[in-house]
């Protein structure tokens, strides 16, 4: 069972070039950290996939084990874990995130 969840997550992050696991949805974030991450992503005006972990307890638990990271949101680009809210905001502020986003959406 637990392994199935990890496999499902693995497929999700590989099928979606930009994949955000968050609390709530981009339109209605249910947590300040998720909202801040959505705000950064929206500023690039590119499409991205997201999953509301509040509606999927198995993923909510599984994603933490998948990345060995205890918190949500979690952003994946091209199947790789990039970071949580603090790292995303910091990378955005330093201009380090945009090249990754552009490369993922143009590639």
């Amino acid at each position: 069972m637990a392994e199935d969840v990890l496999k499902k997550i693995d497929e999700q992050v590989k099928q979606n070039k930009i994949m955000l696991y968050m609390k709530g949805t981009p339109d209605f974030p249910m947590c300040g950290f998720s909202a801040a991450t959505v705000q950064v992503l929206d500023s690039y005006e590119v499409p991205y996939a997201s999953l509301n972990v509040l509606e999927d307890p198995a993923i909510r638990d599984g994603i933490k084990r998948y990345s060995n990271w205890p918190t949500i949101p979690q952003l994946y680009i091209n199947g790789e874990f990039v970071g949580g809210c603090d790292i995303i905001r910091e990378m955005h502020a330093k201009g380090e995130l945009e090249p990754l986003i552009r490369a993922a959406t143009q590639g």
Binding site: C31, G32, F33, N68, W69, P70, T71, F81, V82, G83, G84, C85, D86, I87, E90, M91
Partner: protein
């Protein structure tokens, strides 16, 4: 419900695990559920942000999962701190405002 954690406990868990770290923890809402931790350590050198944060989360272990509702993290090496301070990006408070 698990016992709420205090800023002092967060501080001591981090410094136990990363002894060379300078740590500042702030209760951002005053409600004991939203914290902000500022961690400066030479042992972050050469590590990605993800791995630095993993070190801090590792220090907090079960508390992170069970007792901490929200924790904003900043992890810097002493050199990075100096750069950021001179660039005025980060304003480290040396005293508590209250």
């Amino acid at each position: 419900m698990p016992v709420p954690i205090t800023a002092e406990e967060i501080h001591s868990l981090i410094t136990q695990a990363i002894p060379d770290a300078r740590v500042q923890v702030r209760d951002t809402t005053g409600g004991g559920d939203h914290y902000e931790a500022f961690v400066v350590s030479p042992s972050f050198s050469g590590k990605t942000k993800v791995n630095r944060h993993r070190m801090v989360y590792g220090a907090l272990q079960d508390a992170m999962v069970q007792r901490i509702h929200a924790l904003a993290l900043t992890t810097l090496t002493p050199e990075e701190l100096q750069q950021e301070q001179s660039a005025n990006v980060v304003n480290i408070q040396t005293r508590k405002p209250r």
